[in-house]
Structures are given as structure tokens and as C-alpha cells.
């Protein structure tokens, strides 16, 4: 187990290194960031100053190493547009996205696990078919459309919930549904297939023969085993949500890191974009690592 953890940690570190290299070079591929940062009316001297100030005149690998060194020291740089250190900006925006992500995941699990279990108990029944339809439409609905539909339905027609901003808990409900809906089909399908497999296994049949109630059978024997793959998928889905929340945050005008990323891309705020890409990738990598370790704990066969 110790060896397994060390190996996975090493791979994760390497993945993060390469990921950060890719996102760093992607942003610097554009040619000269100084020209874009200085704005349209900048004089050549101003551009030159910015170039020297940010170190764009130095060789590429030096810039990258300099940036990595700073990041490891906890210095994420300074926003060119907001004229402020990047770290406090992120600290302001991260909680919004984190709350949104947790609520969206909670919604996705709340909808998809019961649906998956019911669908597995009665395969090919009406409920199973309905669950399948929900899953397929969930996969097919771009989140900007479901966001707009939710705004129109619950915000404008029914006037039940606020449709923009992050003032209260109620502000998070519609965006969380929009974001979670897209993640639920994968979780539902996995729960369903896992449950079907477990319910057909010998130990469940034996338990049933001993007269265990249906409820006990589902929770104590079925779900406990079927949930293992769901845990890892849900963890990974949460990582996706952090990256995918751009659209939902933009439509609902929430000031999380998704919206910040979108605004920063349009403002060409290099340091902020870099920091966000790094944080989202790191969160995803760590969640994937956590999911792997959790799986190894739950299912000893994986430890190799």
C-alpha cells in the first residue's frame, strides 16, 4: 500500500508539472503578451517597459522556471488588469465556485443514485426507461441552455428564485441544478449497472434466501458494493465541474473562478489565467489521486 501511494504521488506530481508547462506555453504561444497587455495606444517604450517588467524578453524556459519557482513560494503573480496580487483575488472567488461545485455534486448524487437504484431493481420497466430518458437528455443539454431554461422557468415565470449574483443560499440553487444535471447521467448509469451486477451475485441471492428485507438488501449488500466505482466517478466529476462552471457562472453572473477566468481571458490578464488553470488542474489531479487511493482502500484488488 505504501509503495502504491508513493507511486501515485510521483505520477501526480509529474502530471501537474507537464500540465503547468502546457498551460504556460499555451498562453505564451500568442507571440508577444506585452503588446496585448499594454493596450492599443501604447508607445514602443511602454511596451518595452512591460516586456522587461514581466520578463517577457528572457528565454522561454527561464520564464517558465521563474514562474514555477514563484508559485512554489506561494507567489502567484500580479494581475495586470485588476492591479492587485493574484492570490487574494483567487481567495475571493474560490469559495463561490467551491460552494457551487459541492451543491451541484450533492444535487447530482441526490438525483442519480436513487434513480439508478430504482432503475436497477426493475430493469426495462417504465421507471428504468424514464431514468434512461433523463440521463440521455441530461447529456444532450448544453449547460448554457439548461441555465437559460431554469432562469426562464423558476426565475422569470414562477419568480421563486433569484437568477443572478451570489447574495444568499437561494442564489446557488438554480446554478447548482444546471451544473449538477450535466454530471448526473454518468453517475446514474454507473449506479444502475453496478447495482444490476451486484443484485445478480451469489451473496445477494443467499441473503435474499435468508429472508432479508428488500430495503436491507439494497442498502447493506447492493449499494455498498455498487457505490465503489460511483465514488471515483463522482470525485472526478467534481473536478470537471470546477472547470465546467465557466458557463453556468457566466450565465448566472456569479463571481466564482469560472467567471473570473472568462473575464480574464477576454482582458488578456495572463497571470490570473495561469493561476486559475493551475489551480483547476491541481484540484482535478488531487481529486483523481484521492479517488484512486479511496478505491484502493475499498477494493484491495486494485493495489498493485
Amino acid at each position: 500500500m505504501g509503495m502504491f501511494i508513493v507511486k501515485r504521488l510521483g505520477v501526480t506530481a509529474l502530471v501537474l508539472l507537464v500540465t503547468s508547462m502546457i498551460s504556460f506555453s499555451l498562453i505564451h504561444l500568442a507571440g508577444d503578451p506585452a503588446v496585448a497587455m499594454a493596450g492599443e495606444r501604447a508607445t514602443p517604450e511602454q511596451i518595452e517597459t512591460i516586456r522587461r517588467l514581466y520578463g517577457f524578453d528572457r528565454p522561454f524556459h527561464e520564464q517558465y522556471l521563474h514562474w514555477v519557482g514563484n508559485v512554489l513560494e506561494g507567489n502567484l503573480g500580479r494581475s495586470n488588469y485588476l492591479k492587485e496580487e493574484v492570490a487574494p483575488i483567487l481567495a475571493r472567488h474560490l469559495p463561490v465556485t467551491a460552494q457551487l461545485g459541492v451543491l451541484a455534486l450533492a444535487f447530482a448524487l441526490f438525483v442519480s443514485i436513487p434513480l439508478g437504484v430504482i432503475a436497477a431493481l426493475r430493469p426495462n420497466s417504465l421507471i428504468d426507461r424514464a431514468a434512461l430518458v433523463i440521463a440521455v437528455t441530461g447529456q444532450s443539454m448544453p449547460s448554457f441552455l439548461s441555465s437559460i431554461a431554469l432562469i426562464f422557468g423558476f426565475g422569470v415565470m414562477l419568480r421563486w428564485l433569484p437568477i443572478s449574483g451570489t447574495g444568499s443560499f437561494a442564489h446557488y440553487i438554480l446554478p447548482a441544478i444546471a451544473l449538477g444535471y450535466y454530471a448526473s447521467p454518468a453517475i446514474m448509469r454507473l449506479t444502475r449497472s453496478g447495482m444490476i451486477e451486484v443484485l445478480q451475485s451469489d451473496h445477494v441471492r443467499t441473503a435474499r434466501a435468508y429472508g432479508l428485507s428488500a430495503w436491507q438488501m439494497i442498502v447493506r449488500h447492493g449499494l455498498r458494493h455498487a457505490i465503489i466505482p460511483v465514488v471515483s466517478v463522482a470525485t472526478v466529476q467534481f473536478g470537471y465541474m470546477l472547470g465546467g462552471s465557466v458557463v453556468v457562472e457566466a450565465v448566472f453572473s456569479m463571481d466564482g473562478i469560472g467567471n473570473l477566468a472568462w473575464l480574464s481571458i477576454r482582458r488578456y490578464d495572463v497571470e490570473v489565467i495561469q493561476a486559475i488553470l493551475l489551480i483547476v488542474a491541481a484540484t482535478y489531479a488531487l481529486l483523481a489521486l484521492a479517488a484512486d487511493l479511496l478505491n484502493a482502500v475499498l477494493d484491495p484488488r486494485i493495489r498493485v
Binding site: 448554457f144 470546477l242 458557463v247 477566468a261
Partner: protein, 305 residues
Amino acid sequence: MSTIANEQTNTPATPKPERVSSPGRLALRRALRHTGFWVGGVILAVILIAVLGAPLFTGSDPALQDLSHRLAPPVWHATGDWSHPLGTDHLGRDYLALLLYGGRISLLIGFLTIVLSSLIGVTLGVAAGYCGGTVDLVVNFILTVRLTLPVVLVALVAVAVLGQSLPLLVLVIGGLMWDRLVIVTRATTQQLARRDFITAARSIGSSMPRIFLRELLPNITAPLIVVCTLELARAILLESTLTFLGLGVQPPLTSWGLMVAEAKSQFLFRPWLIAIPGLSLALLILSINLLGDALRDVTAPDGKA
């Protein structure tokens, strides 16, 4: 060329309960009984006919702006008329023409993207599955790196940095969406590489390209078609998302995502401006997903997935 199903039916141990039919024919017979196949197929066919045959269904030029007739209502509205069946947009362009010609762009980007991403995905997947060892480790690492990059964010940055053109959009989306193709191709190739007919081909001295084209490819086509179909849906979805955020398809071109984005400010008083392209987009993605799921069901070896 040998295929899995043929090999199985040819083993002497199994009695022949029914007429032996080719896997393709078997899949077709199952498909015709599959609800999802019909629903998805019919919707997709209608969309394809409408979009590809656009000039047959509308006489209007989608680029023609007529500011004196801007924001005309659709025909089912009290004041609508048949000169613009779906009304006009904020620039006075005929909405039906925009919808039909815009659909072409969404589909074109989707198809080109799949061509690119399957080239990348199949190459990596077959290399990893067939060679194994170090190659497999390297491909696995590349795959992990790709999965760690947040797709929407990276695509937004790439398009913003590299410029906004149609070929570039295809390059960015296709360059990001090959992950599932690698996973499926790798797993299928791994299973096949251990089988006797591959060993036989190798032992008579077939070259690697020959083994790939004559032995591997025919046997991975079925799962490949399934993934490509499902990935097509994802590619169209990602294009519409990027376009909606203002970093995808740019005017004067139009796509369904762009129509939704442009109608955003009108959605309180003219909800149909969003509903028309939005529903079309959702139906297109839905039909492709249904078709992909159906193809997976009918090509599954045991007949039911």
C-alpha cells in the same frame, strides 16, 4: 479478415441453433427493433435533410440584413406571416434561413473534429494496446495529462490566444477530445492482441501496418463507431459552449450556439429567438446520443448492454 463473431460461431463445440448471419446483418436486425435507434435516427435524418437541403426549404439569404423588418415574430404569433416563417433576428435576418445554414456550421465543425480526434485517439490507442510496455505507459501518461487539463478553460484560452477561425476551432476541439477514443481503442486492441489470429498474422511475418489494417481495424470498427458517434455529440456541445461564450464561431458565420448567444438579451420578450436554435441544438445532440447508445446496444457481443 476474421471477425470475432465469426470465430465464435465457427467453433465446433457450439451447435448451430439458427442461421449464421454476419455481425453487420445481426446488428442491423437488432437495430430495427431498437426504439432509441429509430427515434435518434429519425430526428437526425430530419435535421440532416433540413440543414443540407437548406435552399429547398427557404428562399432567403441568411446573411441578408433588413433593418426595417427586424425582430419580426414567427408565423404562429398573431402578427407573424409566411414571408419569414420563424420571424427575423435583431438585424432583420430571416431566422429560418439562419437556422438552416447555421446548422451546417455546427455539423461541419462536429464532423471535422471527430476526424481529427479519431486520428489522434486511434493512433495512440492502438499503439498502447498493441505494443504495451513503455509505449503503453507513455500513452497512459499523455492521457492522464490531457484529462487533468480542464477542457472548456483550455479551449477558451487556446481560441483567445491563437485567434478565432473555423479551422482553428476544429483544431482546438479535436486536439482536446480524443481521450475516450484512446481509452476504448486501447482496451479493445489489448484484448485482440492476445488472440490467435493476431499471433498467426505475426508469425507469418505480416508487417505492422498490415496487421493494423487487415486484422485490428476490422475488429475495432464497431466500438470505434459507437465512441465516434457519442464524441460527435460532445464535440457539437463543446463548440456551442465556446461559441456561446463568445470565443467560437464568429459573425458573419453563424451556428446554433451563436444564435442563442445573440438572442440572450431578447429572451424575456421574444423567448422563441432562444428556444428555436436552443431546441434544435438539444435535439441534434440528443439524436446523436440516442443513436450512439443504440449502436452500442446492437453491436454488443451478448446483444444487450
